[in-house]
Amino acid sequence: MKTATTNKKIRSRRSLSRNDKFTLAAFIGIPTLMQIIFLWLPALITIVLSFTYWNGINVSDIKWAGLANYKNIFFGTPVFYEALKNNLIWLLWFTFIATPLGILLAYQIDRKIKGHKIYETVFYIPVVLSLAIIGIIWNFMLQPGGFVQGVMGRDIGNAVSIWGNYSINTYVIMGVASWRHIGYIMLLYLAGLKSVDPSLREASAIDGATEWQTFKKIILPTMRPVNIIIVVITIIESLRAFDLVYIIYGTSTAWPLLNILVFQNFAGQGISMKGAAYAVILLVLCIGPILLYLRNVFKEDLK
């Protein structure tokens, strides 16, 4: 077996003509070059820029700032901690409420509960909509003259401000975010559940286990690889959270998130490299989950 594989490698390498080598180089080179020029290089440049002062116009104006941008963020920008708090709320809500709901939903739909086909479709539709459309749809629900205001008995003249009300907007934002997230998680989990051996379930049903016990003791442990990936996706999505809040508030810091702060410094009144520093902080927070994901996905190849 071992000799066979080494033979194969030698043969395939030797059999490459000059033409073939050229083709292979192009096959790898072109996409890699593009990936580096438009993705990795800009990312690296942003990391470097986060240690400078620059208004984004002339390269000659770039001045070394050392850690000044970071110091400014950590010690002179209270809104940074507000953003961190909101990202954390997002993370906790998604981890302990939205994602588990998506998983339970997938489990019930996979059991082919009554109406499962309709449910699957309904919960999935929000996932295919653009955020630009989701913003409009929820405005119809919540804005003055919208459905929710109508239900509360308020017409346009005496409407309450839902987006501007700090005691409730966090819940509303979490609700709308979950509207999308739950369907997404449901779909991912549903695909994983299809691969669970049905005889495991039958066995536990014959042993008289309740559905909850079956779910906890049989399904969750067998789905371990999928669970890890879903947790990582949830964490990364919570850290990168952005477009929904941007649709509602623009680049104002009415409900700040790390990503919104990046934007506020990159657009609007003028470019400041504090934005680059925020982006780097975001990257640092994301690195752990990304590595975890890569390790999980390429487990076999890494060995």
Partner: protein
């Protein structure tokens, strides 16, 4: 033996009652879930004056598609839909092509840097996008100036297409390479023994086998790129060149008081992806799951 059957029956009855309860519970949430969408469609079917004079909850006097025709005419949606096509089709095609090249080499030829290459592409797909905004913006303007035409990439469809490709190609590579691992090596070996060149091996042997994942990815990515409105806001300076989702965002400000017209606009813009989802549901689902739950 008979006791277990009796127990089983009792257990099943109990479970059925519970199941009905669970189904009703999920059903309630399903109604809550779909309601905002139905409400938007409902609003789009009613004339503006009807709501103004009779209130949001009044029974409609007229239901018609007038708002849809007006939306197409007044908002110029046809024009913006074409912009979306100019970006989406080349971007999806190029992403799949480049992704399949890398996946092909990585899964069929053993080089030392195979894994690093795969990691580079997959990790790239997970980077926070904001990390690239300023340099890409600046790079586009500089490259344009270099060739004496500032809108070579900036404020040009080509620029938007390239950033989409750079971001999505990582996902395509990952999905396609994990699919190719399941294709038997013998097929490639016989192609090599028959003296097929690398290009023929890719084009005539592997590519036809990749049809299912390519279709799945194509559907999924069309949806993603169609839905994106962000890059266009940053990299397009002219409103008239923006894709339909970005345009909708602008129209929202313009028509903020005309709920019904805006509702019709939103429904029209949502239609392609929703229809795509219903028609090609299988591809849609497998595209997403091939990528993230390989396990």
């Amino acid at each position: 033996m008979s006791t277990t059957i009796v127990q089983n029956k009792e257990y099943r009855n109990k479970q059925r009652i519970k199941d009905n309860f669970i189904s009703a519970f999920i059903g309630f949430f399903a109604i809550v879930w779909i309601f905002p969408i139905l409400w938007t469609v409902w609003t789009s079917l009613r004339p503006y004056n009807d709501i103004i004079s009779n209130g949001v909850f009044s029974w409609p006097r007229h239901l018609n598609l007038d708002n849809y025709f007006t939306a197409f005419r007044k908002m110029g949606l046809t024009h913006y839909f074409l912009n979306t096509l100019y970006v989406t089709i080349p971007a999806v095609g190029l992403t799949l092509f480049l992704g399949s090249l890398i996946a092909f080499v990585v899964s069929r030829y053993s080089f030392r840097f195979n894994l690093s290459l795969l990691l580079l592409f997959t990790a790239g797909n997970m980077l926070p996008i904001v990390l690239t905004y300023i340099p890409v913006f600046w790079l586009y303007i500089k490259i344009g100036d270099l060739f004496g035409n500032r809108s070579l990439l900036y404020n040009n469809y080509l620029g938007i297409i390239l950033v989409h490709v750079a971001f999505q190609v990582g996902f395509a590579t990952f999905v396609l390479s994990s699919y190719m691992k399941t294709v038997p090596k013998e097929i490639s070996e016989s192609a090599i023994i028959d003296g097929a060149s690398v290009f023929r091996h890719y084009w005539n042997v592997m590519l036809p086998l990749l049809r299912p994942p390519l279709a799945a990815l194509g559907v999924l990515m069309s949806c993603w790129i169609y839905n994106d409105f962000f890059w266009a806001l940053i990299l397009m300076s002219e409103d008239s060149k923006r894709p339909v989702t970005s345009a909708l965002r602008q129209l929202q400000g313009q028509y903020i008081t005309d709920f019904n017209l805006l509702a019709a606009g939103a429904s029209i813009v949502a239609a392609p992806t929703v229809i795509l989802f219903f028609v090609l549901r299988k591809q849609f689902v497998s595209g997403l799951t091939l990528g993230s739950t390989k396990g």
